[in-house]
Amino acid sequence: MTLGLINANPVVHAKKERVARTEDLHGDDAVDPLEIYDFVRDIRDPEHPYSLEQLSVLSEESITVDEKLGRILITFTPTIQHCSMATVIGLCLRVKLKHYFPPHFKVDIKVSPGSHANEESVNKQLNDKERVAAALENPNLRQLVDECLYSNEL
């Protein structure tokens, strides 16, 4: 069954307890990195029936928000250095967050420094919106992304 898997034996971590976030912690409509984390932590890994959180691809520290400039940076850590699924994970994050922010917010998605053998080229591809748009029109890729986003396997 595991034949062909890129990382056949990933390390699985316990899910973090979901903390009830206090509403209006900032007393305004500020974008809270932890709220974003709650929203994306359960995306399923493209290869395994585990969430990105369980595989430590994402953590609470993955998301930084610059409210003033309207910038959101998400860094994720692929389970192995040569993960060819990194671009699929990036697409999942983009699709999931597409309508989450006010339109003027700019989202950058990167692999965390040193976590991927082709870090620069993966980051370039993840942030080329024309390639992202084209990838999401590709039925096979779209299906893969949708399976990660709407999976009940977890």
């Binding site: 339109p103 919106k129 024309e130 390639r131 748009a133 084209a134």
Partner: protein, 344 residues
């Protein structure tokens, strides 16, 4: 003309709504009476100004031909044909027949997404480029037939835009591989080949080059990039006009520190004003500066419009008409018509 002393402002004339996805690209017809726009919603819209009210309205929606995003559009120099390039790997040719635009030809051959299309000055040649890394040159034949006369390989990554020189039959392409390539025909053999590559080693860009545009004389070119810079290039106009066809291009100056997100579009106006549109939602205008002639011509920021759109700006296009009209297209699904007008 010294624009800096004039006191100009960018006035929003109208906001055009209709597309229900990103608007990727815009093209004015040669007389600037029609504006074509294309979108992630798989359609092309044709906008026209009504003479009575002076306001713009959607004259036609070109749909049910492309099956994926329409990435780019270009009018033939005669204004009779509109070419549209799509992620569905085809380029469609549309003709206004009676009151309707009809798809009269479909150009197939690219392996995947076609990203840009451009007509040469005489309308006898068409160029297309794709994620398949190739640039194709098509010859326009009678009866709306298009024959591929050359497939140009050379870029190492997807090709973002093709643009013919405004006077000569020399083709320019820019790419995700960070370079601009210049293609010309061999005098004898009718073979097209790459005559120059403008890359990092010639003071070129350090990331994806998204667009390029020429000044009206055709001896200067502007390029814009994901490296957040705008670069101006020039060539020897005397050699160019001597009929040699191609004269080498060299880097003139780099404008950096203005846009702080990817610059997707740059367009040089008839009067010499460069407009740029970027992912920072802003439009900027650059003009030649007469102050620093000691070191040759430099360019300076003349005006900027922050928050011109709610989202990324993908295309800015000057009209060729009398007024300084500029159209901009955005991820927010809208097109805006602006006038660069004197402050009143």
């Amino acid at each position: 003309m010294d624009f800096s002393e004039e006191g100009l402002e960018l006035k929003e004339i109208q906001r055009l709504e209709g597309h229900n996805d990103k608007v990727w690209s815009l093209a004015w017809n040669p007389t600037s009476t029609l504006l074509a726009s294309c979108s992630g919603d798989k359609t092309v819209r044709i906008w026209q100004r009504s003479p009575s009210t002076s306001s713009w309205h959607c004259k036609a929606v070109l749909e049910e031909t492309h099956t994926r995003t329409v990435r780019s559009c270009a009018w033939s120099p005669s204004g009779k044909l509109l070419a549209t390039a799509s992620f569905d790997a085809t380029t469609a040719i549309w003709e206004l027949i009676g009151d309707d635009f009809e798809c009269v030809s479909t150009l197939e051959g690219h392996e995947n997404e076609v990203k840009s299309v451009s007509w040469n000055a005489s309308g006898s040649l068409l160029a297309t480029c794709s994620r398949d890394k190739s640039v194709w040159i098509w010859e326009v034949q009678p009866g709306n037939e298009f024959e591929c006369v050359s497939v140009l390989q050379g870029h190492t990554q997807d090709v973002k835009m093709v643009q013919w020189h405004p006077i000569m039959d020399v083709l320019f392409s820019c790419s995700y591989d960070n370079t601009v390539k210049i293609w010309a025909e061999d005098g004898d053999s009718d073979d097209w080949h790459c005559v120059q590559t403008l890359g990092e080693s010639n003071n070129g860009h350090t990331s994806t080059v998204w667009a390029l545009s020429f000044n009206p004389e055709g001896d200067k070119m502007v390029t814009c990039s994901d490296d957040l810079t705008v670069k101006i290039w020039d060539t020897d106009s005397i050699t160019m006009q001597a009929g040699e066809g191609y004269a080498p291009w060299k880097h003139l100056c780099t404008l950096s520190g203005y846009h702080d997100r990817t610059i997707f579009s740059a367009h040089w106006s008839r009067e010499g004003i460069i407009a740029t549109g970027a992912a920072d939602d802003a439009i900027r205008f650059f003009v030649e500066s007469k102050d620093g002639l000691v070191d040759g011509p430099l360019y300076k920021l003349m005006l900027k419009k922050e928050q011109a759109h709610d989202m990324d700006i993908n295309s800015v296009q000057w009209s060729s008409g009398e007024n300084r009209l500029l159209a901009s297209a955005s991820d927010d699904g809208t097109i805006k018509i602006w006038e660069l007008a004197s402050i009143t």
